[in-house]
């Protein structure tokens, strides 16, 4: 069970907003880059987020670049999962590959600061603040197998190949 507070963002949160290109010189220093996560969408986010919290986006979360640094630094900031109405393809795959769950659900019903409980096994989100229960779309089996190993690198190390 994942537990934490919702940090709400809008539609079209691009990888440029998550990991700005102007900070490309920090990409070999991920802890330093993580201090700037989502800085251009919410400058206060990195300082306020606590381990276990959730990033809650609107539609087309993570559009743009292939930079895997984007989900890596969201995870490094302590975020336990990204919730969004829809997710850009490369970001979705990257997030699973680095062991960051991405849950597609009706995020309109979640408000900034709501306390959430997420059960990855049953696919249920409980919003303790407003009492709502939400369900999220199933993560495809091929990706779930990778997520269950903690990401693509641990998966490849374990199996030595794609077990599909």
């Amino acid at each position: 069970m994942l537990k934490g507070k919702a940090f709400k963002f809008g539609d079209n949160i691009s990888t440029d907003l998550i990991a700005p290109g102007r900070l490309v010189h920090l990409r070999s220093n991920l802890p330093e880059l993580a201090k700037h996560v989502l800085e251009d969408a919410d400058p206060a986010f990195a300082a306020r987020v606590k381990p276990g919290d959730f990033v809650v986006g609107g539609s087309n979360f993570g559009l743009g670049s292939s930079r895997e640094h984007a989900p890596v630094i969201i995870k490094m900031a302590g975020v336990s999962a990204v919730l969004a109405k829809s997710v850009a393809r490369i970001f979705f795959r990257n997030a699973i590959n680095v062991g960051l769950p991405v849950l597609v659900c009706d995020t309109d019903r979640i408000n900034e600061g709501d306390e959430l409980e997420v059960d990855l096994a049953t696919g249920v989100i409980h919003d303790k603040t407003n009492g709502e229960t939400l369900t999220f779309g199933k993560i495809p089996d091929a990706m779930l197998a990778i997520l269950n190993e903690g990401g693509l690198m641990p998966y490849i190390k374990k199996y030595g190949d794609f077990k599909i």
Binding site: S66, I90, R93, I156
Partner: protein, 417 residues
């Protein structure tokens, strides 16, 4: 049942008849990284502990995004990638040797190939009939080591191009128009395939420009069939032997068919801060522009230098507007010099930047000041993209950019030329 180009390529590679929704493992013909995603890819590959690359001669490291490096940390990243290429026998395309997607087109990509790259615009090679897609560092690290990757076979949208483009309306206007129509997530997880009578008149350069921006509609790939123009392009590159004819079956099944009439298409602009926020140039002409940027993997080709030179010949950029031009490869820069385009552009007040990504990603060579407006021929106008979240980016074709450089405001190229 017939197959789309996507289904045909993935069936051939994975050794079975695939249909949309299938999960397949496919060999990879080329795996590439660039200098902003490469260090993470290399560290992940090294972490796997494999003794060698699956195919060193088909593993390519491009130093193009911050090239030449403007900062110490990036110089160290470059040094790290150079050493890895040396140690493992991978191909290195060093600083000044061009934008990765342009060099893939010039030297490597072939019709029917499967190409993965740690750069979202890897889709560009679809202009030559390849199934090419952008992925993150982990996926490409796995492809480095295993020589293969997994895909969910996408459903396909067929984009039927009818009619003929008018003067100073270009391939860039086609793709901006399409993204405006279907939205920045309109093709998420899908493949875009282009066809129709209008395709026959589009040069390989045009096709690369269109395929390049497929990802801006969310697509996994953007693919053109190969034809005589593809053969001609590959032959010019000394690679005629890499040609093969590949196209979708006539009875291929598409999830959606979208028609675009090229004859009535207008010069199109994407306004800040999303690529699907489009207008015709007529609707927004007159907006002041501080910087015009012509180049990148979208519009840094010889045709672009020609289009810009044709409009700027004998004219000057507006004194309040900077004009930056970055050819996408040394081959293009040299041809542009021989044909006089570069001289024309310099006489018109342009700054010629070295082949590379230049101002596109906000690292160097044209970072915007607070409140400044850039009209760019690149593929992205996201907030902060050009190094400053206080800057505003509009996207256009090269003729529109060149015309606007003269007047200092967004201008319809049909009124200047």
């Amino acid at each position: 049942m017939g197959k789309t180009l996507t289904e045909k390529i993935l069936s051939e590679k994975s050794g079975g008849a695939v249909k949309p929704g299938d999960i397949v493992v496919s060999p990879v013909d080329w795996a590439l990284v660039q200098d902003t995603t490469g260090p993470l890819t290399v560290r992940e590959f090294l972490g796997l502990g494999l003794p060698k690359l699956a195919s060193p001669s088909h593993t390519i490291l491009f130093l193009d995004h911050a090239a030449p490096s403007p900062q110490r940390q990036l110089s160290c990243d470059h040094a790290f990638l150079r050493k890895f290429a040396r140690d493992y026998g991978a191909v290195l395309s060093d600083v000044g040797e061009g934008v990765c997607h342009q060099i893939m087109a010039e030297k490597y990509a072939r019709p029917g190939d499967v190409i993965v790259g740690a750069d979202s615009h890897t889709v560009t090679a679809g202009g030559l009939g390849a199934f090419a897609t952008g992925m993150g560092s982990s996926d490409v690290a796995a492809a480095f080591g295993l020589g293969k990757t997994w895909f969910r076979v996408p459903e396909t949208f067929f984009i039927r191009l009818n009619g003929q483009l008018q003067n100073n309306v270009t391939a860039k206007d086609i793709i901006l128009h399409l993204i405006g129509e279907i939205g920045a997530d309109g093709a998420t997880y899908k493949s875009l395939e282009f066809g129709g009578a209008g395709v026959k008149a589009l040069t390989v350069t045009d096709r690369l420009t269109i395929a390049n921006m497929a990802v801006e509609a969310g697509a996994k790939a953007g693919i053109f069939p190969s034809d005589d123009l593809t053969l001609e392009y590959l032959t010019q590159q000394g690679r005629g032997g890499d040609y093969r004819a590949i196209s979708a079956d006539v009875d291929a099944v598409y999830e959606r068919i979208i028609e675009i009439n090229l004859t009535t298409l207008e010069p199109t602009i994407a306004k800040p801060h999303t690529v699907d926020n489009t207008s015709t140039v007529t609707e927004i002409k007159g907006t002041k522009v501080d910087q015009v940027f012509i180049g990148t993997c979208t519009n840094g080709r010889l045709d672009d230098l020609k289009q810009a030179a044709d409009i700027l010949k004998g004219k000057r950029r507006h004194p309040g507007t900077r004009l930056l031009v970055a050819p996408a490869s040394p081959q293009i820069l040299l041809a542009g010099m021989k044909l006089g385009y570069i001289q024309t552009l310099i006489e018109a007040g342009a700054v010629i930047l070295p082949p590379g990504c230049a101002a596109c990603l906000g690292v160097h060579q044209g970072v915007l000041g607070d409140g400044e407006v850039c009209l760019s021929t690149a593929n992205r106008n996201f907030l902060g993209r050009m190094g400053n979240p206080e800057g505003m980016i509009y996207l256009s074709s090269t003729p529109t950019a060149a015309a606007s450089a003269i007047t200092g405001v967004i201008t319809d190229p049909r009124e200047v030329a």
